[in-house]
Amino acid sequence: MKSTIYHPQNKNEDVILAPVRRVTFEERWLWAVLLGLMGLGAYAYLTQWNSGLGVTGLNRPVYWGVYITNFVFFIGLAHSGTFISAILRLAGAGWRKPLTRAAEAITLFSLPFGVGSILIDMGRPDRVLNIMFYGRFQSPLLWDITAVSLYLFSSIVFFYLSLLPDIALCRDRLTEVPEWQQKMYKILALGWTGRPEQFQRLERVLDGMAIFMTLLVVTVHTVVSWVFGMTVQPGWHTALIGPFFLVGAIFSGTAAVVIVLAILRRVYHMEDILPVSLFNSLRKLLIVFTVAWLYMMIAEFLTTSYGALADEMPVVWQKFTGDFAGLFWTMALTIFVLPMIIFLFLGKNHIGWMVTASVLINIGMWIERFVVIVPTETRPRFVSTLMEGMGNYQPTWVEGAITVSLFAGMVLLYVVFTRFFPIVPIWETAEAAETELPPAEPRRRVFGMRRNL
C-alpha cells in the first residue's frame, strides 16, 4: 500500500536544493586541498605514534599545550549549534529557523575533532580502553568523557531528527542524483511520509530535546573547565572557571555561525533566505557575549590581583607583562576591542564587517584557551624555573600540522555535507510555519497540496 507523502511548501526550495543537485569543479579542488592538509596532519601524527610525544614542544612543567587547547576550543565551538537550535528554539526566536541546520552542523563536525584531540594528546592511545574498564569516577576526566559522549550522541540524534523531513524531500525530489545517493536517502528517510501526526510528534520531541541539549551545553563545557578547575594550580583553581569557559564557548560558537552563514550565503546564492537581518540579530547577541566575556576577565583578574597571593601573582604577571603578554594583549584586541568597534560602528547591515569581527573573535578565542592553559604551567609553585629551559613552550611543526588538519577536517566534513543535504531546513522555513504556532493547524492547511510519488 503506497501512502501519500506530504512535503511542506517552500518557495525557496529550488535555491536550497541547488547545491545538492550539482557539485562544481572548483569544489572538488577544495576537497582535494583539504584532504591534502589532513594527510599532512596524519603524517605528523604518524611521526608522533612512532617516536612518542617527544616530537612535540611539550616538556616539564608544560605537560599540556596545543593539543589540549584544541580539545577545549573544538568542544567550545560545538556549543554554537546547540545554542542556536536549542536555546533560541526555547526562547521562541523564529528568526533562527534558516540557521539551525548550518549551526548544528558546526556542532556535529567540530565535536569529533575535540574528542580526537584528547586521543592525540595521550601518551598511550593504544590503552584508551583502560578508561572504560578501569575508569575512576573521582577523576574529572571521566566526567568529561561521559558528558562529551552524551553530548555528541545527543547532537547526532537531534541533528538527524531535524534533518529527517528534508531527507524525505530529497528522496522524492532529487531524481537526477546517482543511484547510490537515492538509495541513501531512501534508507535514511526511515519511511517518513510527512503526516501531520508525524510532524506534531517530531516538534514535541525536538522541544523536549532542546531543553535537554541546553542542560547538556551548560554541563559539558563546565565539566571541561573542571579538568583545570579541580586541580590546585594557581590560575586554574578558581570558582569562576566554569562560567568563564561557558561564556567563551557560546561566544566563539556564535561567531563561527556568522562566518559559516556568510560563506553559505555567498557560495550558494542564498541572499533571500539568509537576509542581512539575521546577521543583525547575531550582531546583537555577539555584543552581549563580548561584554559578558569582558566581565568575566575583569572579575577574574581584578579579584586575583587585589588579593595578590604569592602563588597566583607570577601567573598573572606571565599573562600581563611576561612571556605571554604578546598573546594575552593580542587576545584582548581581537576578542574585545576590535570586535566592539566593528559591532558598534561598522557591523550593522554589513556582512563583510561581521565576518571580519567573527574571524578575529575565533582567533582570539583559540589564543584565550592557550593563555588559560599554558602560563599556569610555566609558573608552578615548586619547579625551579631558574634552571635552563624551564617554563618555556615552543610548539613544533607536528602540533601545528595536526591543528591545521583538524580545522581542514571539520571544513571538509561540512562542505561535503552541504553537497548531500540541504543546509537550510526546508520544512522549518516553509511558508505556513513563519511564527511559532502549534504545528497541527498550519500543517493541515499546507497539506491541502498533495503530491503522490
Binding site: D126, R127, L129, N130, I131, M132, F133, Y134, G135, R136, F137, Q138, L142, I145, T146, S149, L150, F153, S154, V157, L161, L164, L190, G191, W192, T193, R195, E197, Q198, R201, L202, V205, A440
Partner: protein
C-alpha cells in the same frame, strides 16, 4: 592489549568506572531509539479523538 583482563577488571573493579559511561550513553540510546520509533509511527486510530480535544 589483553582483552580478557580488561573485561574481568570491568566486573571486579571497586569503583563504578566505565559502567556509568555505558549506562548513561546506553540509556540515551534506548530512549532515542524509542522516540524515533514513536515519531515515525504517527498516531493512527486515535486521529479523530485528538482533533476533537484540540
Amino acid at each position: 592489549m589483553h582483552i580478557t583482563e580488561l573485561i574481568s577488571a570491568f566486573f571486579t573493579s571497586s569503583g563504578p568506572g566505565g559502567v556509568v559511561i555505558i549506562t548513561v550513553v546506553g540509556l540515551a540510546a534506548g530512549i532515542y531509539f524509542f522516540l524515533i520509533r514513536w515519531i515515525l509511527r504517527g498516531s493512527g486510530p486515535d486521529k479523530e479523538e485528538r482533533y476533537r480535544f484540540k
